[in-house]
Symmetry: C2
Subunit: 176 residues, 2 copies
């Protein structure tokens, strides 16, 4: 069975309180990093309609190319995700452009990453959007992991969930 990215996201009102609660629950701080993402739309299908994504993510000096399939239903944001390390970001960007992929938007954020048991917790300060918490686990069993993630969200006091991606939120907020 294919590995799925099972993820829920919520607005975070108070970052300091959230961090304290993560540590109380046994979370381990992993790192803080800046992520700069460029999203591309497909030359002949509209990813806003097909609910797919193609992203070049720069973190420090390294870059990852990621394809995300459409959300698979359920209460979480669960998708097939395929990733490839890219040593030369500019070269891959040039090839994508030649193939007709068009830049559709950029997302930049300061991400604090925690591990709590086998869940990744991201405290994200997204430029232009504000503060969010994402809870994520890669697994094949969506329903089992959804129960774990929503239970953890409750322990963290999260209530305002958001199924749209950061890119969708930025594009929805942009003046036409």
């Amino acid at each position: 069975m294919e590995l799925l990215e099972i993820e829920i996201k919520a607005y975070c009102e108070d970052g300091t309180a959230a961090e304290t609660r993560i540590m109380e629950l046994g979370g381990v701080f992993i790192e803080a990093r800046r992520e700069e993402d460029i999203y591309f739309n497909h030359p002949c299908r509209d990813f806003r309609i097909t609910d797919e994504a193609l992203r070049l993510r720069g973190v420090g000096g390294s870059t990852v190319l990621t394809y995300k399939g459409p959300k698979l239903g359920g209460r979480s944001k669960t998708r097939v995700e395929q990733e490839a390390d890219i040593p030369d970001r500019a070269a891959v960007k040039a090839i994508l452009t030649s193939l007709g992929f068009v830049e559709s938007g950029r997302v930049a954020k300061e991400r604090k990453l925690y591990h709590l048991h086998d869940v990744e917790i991201c405290l994200d300060r997204v430029e232009g959007l504000g503060l969010f918490i994402e809870l994520e686990k890669k697994d094949t069993d969506r329903e089992k992991v959804e129960a774990v993630l929503f239970s953890l969200a409750e322990e963290l006091g999260l209530t305002r969930f958001e199924r749209r991606s950061y890119l969708e939120l930025i594009l929805d907020a942009a003046p036409l």
Copy 2:
């Protein structure tokens, strides 16, 4: 100005004689290697018509993704070429497949590479096609380089030139 891949290709009747002649002219043997290429067609334009190419080339343990633009005219095979190193071949192949790229053919060859001044000479034994010599130089001035390459071809005794790619030759030879 963009760097062009300026290349001519000819059938080679006698590999041993060609190698001797390359050395007599001052050529330096660089390496022998096996190259295994997978070509992809585009999800919404036909590269056989647009004369473009997208290729994953495996050489030893490493992989390069290459986009080639349409031939730019002249007597040579001159194209814009964009290349990116790919550490994880399977991951990029999976992403291309998800994006709708379809495998269109494979080319495998044993390549002997020589340098003669600033020209790359490839003596290629291509599976299913036979023996060829390619003369190649990356430059911005197509006409100047064409003159150099055809002059060198004459010194190597090459007479039967071929503008089709190995992939085109294989597809043209395949039973429908």
